[in-house]
């Protein structure tokens, strides 16, 4: 039986890979994909803590469902913004997104 530590380390590895992708990639869609990896790591943490510490109450599961909702809303609006910027700028490089900079 794998203990809580195994799941926490898996979630930490997934989170750090997502963090690295969000820092080091040029394409904005790739940055959004890395953000999704980090949200998945957070959900693994919630479900693992719920399973090992208080399996009778499903608070972690319900919070995980809310994270699903927020992630879906975030990716929909984020990709809409990306497509909108691509129409006016014809680029998906985050270093070219300097519209708000002056």
């Amino acid at each position: 039986m794998v203990g809580l530590e195994g799941y926490l380390i898996l979630a930490a590895a997934l989170f750090c890979i997502g963090l690295f992708g969000a820092f080091a990639k040029k394409n904005v869609i790739s940055v959004l994909m890395s953000v999704e990896l980090m949200l998945n790591a957070a959900i693994i943490n919630l479900v693992a803590f719920n399973r090992f510490l208080a399996p009778a109450k499903v608070t972690g599961h319900i919070f995980a469902i809310f994270i699903f909702v927020v992630a879906a809303a975030g990716i929909a609006v984020g990709l809409a913004i990306v497509i909108n910027i691509y129409r006016s700028r014809a680029t998906t490089n985050v270093e070219d997104f300097n519209i708000l900079k002056w």
């Binding site: 039986m1 794998v2 809580l4 195994g6 799941y7 926490l8 380390i9 898996l10 930490a12 997934l14 989170f15 750090c16 890979i17 997502g18 963090l19 690295f20 992708g21 820092f23 080091a24 990639k25 040029k26 394409n27 869609i29 790739s30 994909m33 999704e36 990896l37 998945n40 959900i43 479900v47 693992a48 719920n50 399973r51 090992f52 510490l53 399996p55 499903v58 608070t59 599961h61 319900i62 469902i65 809310f66 699903f68 909702v69 927020v70 992630a71 879906a72 809303a73 975030g74 990716i75 929909a76 609006v77 990709l79 809409a80 990306v82 497509i83 909108n84 691509y86 998906t92 985050v94």
Partner: protein, 163 residues
Amino acid sequence: MISPYVFWPIAVLIVVFAIGVVHFKNIVHSALMLILTFVGVAVVFILLEAEFLAFVQILVYAGAISILIVFAVMLTRRIDMNESNPFNKLRWISLIFCLGFFGLIVRIVLTSRISYEKLAVQDTMGAIADGLFGNYMIPFEVAAILLLIAIAGAIILTKGVKD
């Protein structure tokens, strides 16, 4: 219990797929690796006896969000697909930072003593339904409103408003 013989190969596969997401130069390959990562996380949910979340993970992440990402890749396509996903100049600094952060988290996890006993799990799906229509009713409705606003905002952002 068969769980360690399933968990550790799945964990290694998830980490390999996630590294593939950030490593591949072609963004379509990254999207494929992202779908495989989501399916692996669904298997982890089944190992944690959260079957409903595994279903939702497959439906929402591996189904809907992956389709959204692939469509966004197709709508923002450049000429050369093989160089569509490069690293920027922060690559090595952020690699060192993320490895240090990972080491810190692993050290904290391994040195902290979290005491728990093996507890039995019963009927998570019914308990989730009770929670969503009982204690967590108002956040549930707010989440519905948030989804509606996100859909309307995405349509307006991509299509534009004619006035």
